[in-house]
Amino acid sequence: MIVIIDYGVGNLGSIRNMLKKIGHSSEISSDPEVIKNAEKLILPGVGAFDAGMSKLNETGLVALLHQKVMEEKTPTLGICLGMQLMTKGSEEGQEAGLGWVDAQCVRFRFDEGKKLKVPHMGWNYVHAQKEHALFDGMFEAPRFYFVHSFHLQCNNAQDVFLTANYGYDFTASFVVDNVMGVQFHPEKSHKFGMQILKNFATYVAS
C-alpha cells in the first residue's frame, strides 16, 4: 500500500485520485501503524517551509519516517514542499529539514534586469540529467505544473534527476536511492504526472 502522509498541509485528495485513476490504491494517513506497514510513502505539502516542518514535527512521526526511509529504504516520493522538507533546510525558514538528501532550498535569484515573477507558477518543461525508472515511458516534451518560490540546490551533482529553466536551470527533481523528490505537482500535470506516479507506484529498487 502507498501511504500519503497526512500532516495537515495541502490537498492530498488529488494525489489519491490520480493514483486511483491509474489503478493504484493509496491511503491518506497520519497513523503510525499504517505508516509502519507502508510499502511506499508520499510526502506531499504546500506552503511555507517552517510551517510545514513544524506541522510534521507536531505529528510525532519524524522518527518513524527516518526509520522507514533511511533504514528500511522504503521508496519515498516528496512532492513540492514535501520535497523541500527532505533537504537540510531552507532560506525560507529556521527549522532544520529532514536531511534525507544533501541539499538546501534557496530563493530564486535573478540578475538585475532579468527579473522574473516569483513564485514560478505554471507549466514548464523538464530535462532529464540521468536515467531513472521514474521517467520510464515518459511522453515527448514532458511538462509539469509548478508553484514555488524556493528551489533545491543539490550538493552532489549526481543527485539531480530533472532540471527546469526559470531564469536559469534549477533542480526540478532529485533521486538518491529510495528517496525521490519532485518540485512540481504530478497530480496536476495530466499524462506526464500520471506517468511519474505510475512509475513510482510500480518502482522496484534495483
Partner: protein
C-alpha cells in the same frame, strides 16, 4: 521559462455550465463534469470555475460539485463565487481545489485576502475584478456579478489587493464578456504594469490569435477565455474545444 498559461473560465449556475454576454443572458452549455473530462483529454493548462449566482443570490459555495470537479481534474483548478469566510476557503481547498478567486468579498472584507494568503500562501489566492467603463470612459470595478458599482479605479484596486497578499489578479471586462471581439488590451496593460504579481487577462477572446495579444502587447502573464472554448461558429453552437499544444506554443513564441 514558464509556459504561458491559457485558461478556460467556466461559469456555474445551479450546478450547470453557462456562458454569458456582458454578464447577462447566461446560456446553458452543458454539464461541468463532462466538460472537465473533455478538458483533461485536451490537456488544458488550468481551469477556472466561477459560480455567477452564488454571490448575488446569497447561495453557499457548491462544495459537493466542486469535490466532483476536483476529483476529475488533473490540472490546476481555481474556484470563485459566493466565498464569504476563511472557513469557506478552507472547505474549498480541502475538497481538492488549489486556488480560490475572491471578488465581491475582497471589497467587503479585504482582510480575508491577507488571512487566506497567510494560511494557504499567496499563490493560492487570486483576486478577480470585473471592470466596466462608465459613460465618460472611466474604468470602474463592479461586484456581485456586475450589478454593484464600487466606483473604484481598477489600477488602484489592483495595487491594494497586491499589497494585501493576492498572488494573482484576474481582470475581466464586463463590456467585453462574451462579445468575442478581442481583449480590452488597454485595461489589462494598465493593471499589469502597475503590479508585480501575474495578471490573467480575461473577457473578449474571439479567436485563437486573440490569446497572444495580452501577453505580447499588454504585459499579462496568462490568458483566460470563456466563449472561445465553449462555442463554435457564428451561431454559437456549443462545442468544448481547446487549441493543441503545438498551436499554443507557436502562438506565444
Amino acid at each position: 521559462m514558464a509556459i504561458t498559461r491559457v485558461i478556460p473560465v467556466l461559469l456555474l449556475r445551479n450546478q450547470g455550465l453557462v456562458k454569458s454576454v456582458k454578464f447577462k443572458a447566461p446560456k446553458y452549455v452543458g454539464d461541468p463534469i463532462n466538460a472537465v473530462r473533455i478538458f483533461n483529454d485536451k490537456e488544458v493548462d488550468e481551469l477556472v470555475f466561477l459560480d455567477i449566482t452564488a454571490s448575488t443570490e446569497g447561495k453557499p459555495v457548491p462544495l459537493a460539485l466542486l469535490q466532483d470537479i476536483a476529483t476529475e481534474c488533473f490540472m490546476p483548478l481555481c474556484y470563485g463565487g459566493g466565498i464569504r469566510s476563511l472557513k469557506d476557503i478552507q472547505q474549498i481547498i480541502q475538497v481538492g481545489v488549489e486556488k480560490i478567486a475572491l471578488n465581491t468579498i475582497a471589497h467587503e472584507q479585504p482582510q480575508l485576502i491577507q488571512e487566506a494568503a497567510a494560511v494557504y500562501g499567496s499563490s493560492s489566492v487570486v483576486v478577480s475584478m470585473d471592470v466596466k467603463k462608465n459613460l465618460f470612459g472611466k474604468w470602474q470595478v463592479w461586484t456581485k456579478g456586475g450589478t454593484v458599482n464600487t466606483k473604484k479605479d481598477p489600477v488602484a484596486w489592483a495595487k491594494e489587493v497586491e499589497a494585501l497578499g493576492a498572488g494573482e489578479l484576474m481582470v475581466q471586462s464586463i463590456d467585453k464578456d462574451g462579445t468575442m471581439s478581442g481583449y480590452d488590451l488597454e485595461l489589462i496593460r494598465r493593471v499589469a504594469q502597475a503590479v508585480e504579481v501575474p495578471v490573467i487577462a480575461c473577457s473578449g477572446a474571439g479567436t485563437v490569435e486573440d490569446l497572444a495579444r495580452p501577453i505580447k502587447e499588454a504585459n499579462a502573464s496568462a490568458v483566460a477565455a470563456g466563449s472561445l472554448f465553449v462555442f463554435h461558429g457564428k451561431h454559437r453552437a456549443v462545442l468544448i474545444q481547446y487549441p493543441g499544444q503545438q498551436v499554443l506554443r507557436q502562438l506565444f513564441s
